[in-house]
């Protein structure tokens, strides 16, 4: 039977070509669209988590209210004991303290006076501890362009673009000038150990990376940190688990009055910097994409089926006149649809996966559009192929063809065997 239908489909291309092409194109677009969106969202979330938000983040309540300004005068105190408590009570996460700081990087001339300077966005991380996760999280080994990672106290990394602007390189002296935690003037000399490029415009403009011990000394922040970040050890963000963890942590630390202002508060990745909206938006887009695909494909295929039925009006009449019952005819139509859907979806999915794998490997450089971006988004966006990519186009493609044929084929039941002779005479 299947062989018979296949022969019919191959020999009468007008019966199969349009539905096949429609399903294949639709499946391909769905696979590419899903994989691209999946890759883009994953990249944004991953970069935001690793560079800024963590899977969860702990700040003082006052700092959290003005977190976009990284106000170190409102930083967390007693970080050593807080870290010990977190590592004991929540071993599923790896915890790391960070300080974001701003100021000027000033480059001296031979007389020790200003030769060049520029505004810097600094990030202090645990760079020198063997157990620190920061090298992995920020992919530092790959990010180094010139020189090496800091190994000794007083060494910093400067973004390659910033270093070029200042005319410095590994071995240069750079002076940081900013404000201490208590508002005093902070001035400290550093040695540039290397330059780096993250491929994130917001970081590459004027980033300075320093060891947290050096920055604590410079900013008078002994046992303090602006933020403590927590990451799930398997690098997978779990929205519900993170929300439950934050709720439990915050419930235990309800402060009031001035003391409460500096009490620690935990927020999840979802709650920071509009990431929740981004994730919710992505989820809505996935759903919309699938619904639209099935709907549009069904309508197109239904229409194609109706046109096919009109064209094959005579054929159906003869088949019915020869004794084929309506059910068998209807089932054969659906089987034809299933074969077209199966082949179309398979070809479309294969093509979509090929394009997606290409975009995953090569990516698309959108760096020129991100020159002034403050979002943690990489210059090169890539698709991400997952198991879902294999079925996201295939199943709806098959379902749409099936639905289209099922609806358009109902017309078969309207043909009355008693009227067939009259139809043929006419």
């Amino acid at each position: 039977m299947i062989r018979f239908l296949l022969k019919g489909l191959l020999r009468d291309r007008s019966r199969s070509l349009l539905p096949f092409a429609t399903v294949a194109l639709g499946s391909m677009l769905t696979v590419v669209g899903f994989s691209w969106l999946n890759g883009a969202i994953s990249t944004i979330v991953e970069a935001s988590a690793n560079f800024s938000a963590g899977h969860v983040k702990i700040m003082s309540r006052a700092y959290a209210n003005e977190a976009d300004q990284a106000p170190n005068d409102l930083a967390l105190d007693g970080v050593a004991s807080l870290l010990a408590e977190l590592r004991r009570d929540h071993p599923a996460l790896v915890w790391t303290p960070r300080i974001k700081f701003g100021g000027l990087i000033d480059i001296p001339d031979d007389k020790g006076e200003t030769r060049a300077q520029g505004p810097a966005a600094g990030l202090a991380i645990d760079l020198r501890s063997a157990a620190s996760p920061e090298r992995r999280l920020l992919n530092l080994d790959k990010a180094v362009v010139r020189g090496r990672l800091p190994e000794h106290p007083g060494e910093i990394l400067v973004s390659d673009a910033f270093a070029a602007r200042l005319g410095i390189g590994p071995g240069s002296t750079a002076t940081f000038i900013g404000a201490t935690m208590y508002g005093g003037m902070a001035v400290r000399n550093f040695t540039v150990s290397g330059t780096l490029r993250f491929g994130i415009a917001a970081m590459d403009r004027g980033a300075v990376l320093a060891d947290i011990a050096d920055v604590r000394e410079a900013l008078d922040m002994e046992d303090a940190a602006g933020e403590v970040l927590g990451f799930y050890r398997d690098a997978l963000y779990r929205k519900k688990e993170a929300a439950a963890l934050a709720a439990a942590f915050n419930g235990d630390r309800r402060g009031d009055g001035d003391a409460g202002e500096f009490a620690p508060v935990m927020v999840t990745l979802h709650e920071q910097a509009g990431l929740g909206q981004t994730l919710d938006f992505a989820s809505a887009v996935y759903t919309l994409m699938l619904v639209l695909f099935i709907l549009v494909m069904s309508i197109v295929l239904w229409n194609a089926g109706l046109m096919g039925s009109l064209r094959r009006y005579g054929e159906f009449g003869i088949r019915l006149a020869l004794g084929e019952d309506h059910g068998r005819l209807y089932r054969s139509l659906i089987a034809e649809g299933a074969i077209v859907g199966l082949l179309g979806s398979a070809v479309g999915t294969a093509l979509g996966l090929a394009v997606s794998y290409y975009l995953q490997a090569k990516g698309l450089d959108i760096g020129s559009m991100l020159k002034n971006a403050s979002m943690m988004i990489t210059d090169v966006l890539r698709a991400r192929v997952t198991t879902t990519s294999y079925i996201i186009g295939f199943v709806p493609g098959l379902a749409a063809t099936f639905l289209g044929k099922a609806v358009s084929g109902i017309g078969v039941y309207k043909r009355q065997t008693s009227q067939l002779a009259k139809e043929f005479e006419a």
Binding site: D73, I177, G183, M185, N189, E261
Partner: protein, 248 residues
């Protein structure tokens, strides 16, 4: 009859001022008197700035040598972390020296908008020409009492785009020509800073504010209390003080 008419006219002339609106003085003239009161070619001051932040209060003591409106040299005396830090304002540039790094650094760009030692004053405020009449045009907005002192209320409009505050409102002590209260606004009309003079003393023939509270309206905290411990007008200051070499 003629004599009676003349007498009546004279009587009317005598009592007329009581019924006419008081003649407001020229705003520019008031502003010039304010500048003249504080103006002096050379000044040496010692002061303490107490900054009331959200984590507590801290005091910074300094000594300043000031020549005219474009040159000043400040050395921080206390606390120990700031001791030895120096700042030199020299012809439109602000240089700082930090003994911990042995560096002479030009403060420029966005750094000029940062607070000085965490106070409610910015480096830009330090760099400003102290003569209000040079920076602003003034109109008299009215008369008000401030802390029991009769004042002129002046609206000041900046003379140029490069001036840090687009508009100011000041309360000038009518008798002593001292600004007792000030509100500084951005171009958008947003209040940026307030200044309140809590104490004025007569020194060297001038009325000098000796306790001022500055408040940055954009940040939380209790403001910055500035106490002038001593001031010496027309002091002899050697030229070398106002050179970069004196920073080290």
């Amino acid at each position: 009859m003629k004599n009676r008419t003349v007498l009546l006219l004279l009587a009317l002339a005598a009592i007329a001022p009581a019924f006419l609106p008081a003649q407001e003085p020229d705003g520019e003239a008031i502003l010039r008197r304010v500048d003249e009161n504080m103006g002096s070619d050379n000044k040496i001051t010692t002061s303490t700035m107490t900054i009331h932040g959200r984590r507590g209060s801290r005091s910074v003591r300094s000594k300043s040598w000031i020549r005219g409106r474009t040159q000043s040299f400040t050395e921080y005396l206390d606390p120990p972390r700031e001791k030895g830090t120096k700042m030199l304002k020299l012809e439109g540039q602000l240089w700082t020296y930090a003994p911990s790094s042995d560096r002479t650094i030009l403060i420029s760009g966005h750094m000029l908008r940062q607070p000085v030692m965490g106070s409610d004053l910015s480096y830009e405020d330090m760099m400003e020409d102290p003569r209000l009449a040079v920076l602003y045009t003034a109109t008299v907005a009215g008369r008000e009492d401030y802390e029991g002192r009769p004042c002129w209320v002046l609206d000041l409009a900046s003379r140029g785009e490069e001036i840090a505050y687009f508009r100011r409102k000041i309360w000038v002590d009518r008798e002593r020509s001292v600004v007792l209260r000030e509100e500084r606004f951005a171009k958008s009309g947003k209040l940026l800073k307030t200044t309140e003079v809590e104490s004025v003393e007569r020194q060297g023939g001038r009325f000098v504010p000796t306790r001022i509270v500055f408040k940055d309206a954009l940040k939380e905290g209790g403001g910055t209390e500035f106490v002038l411990e001593s001031i010496e007008f027309d002091a002899a200051i050697p030229d070398h003080v106002f050179t970069k070499a004196s920073l080290r």
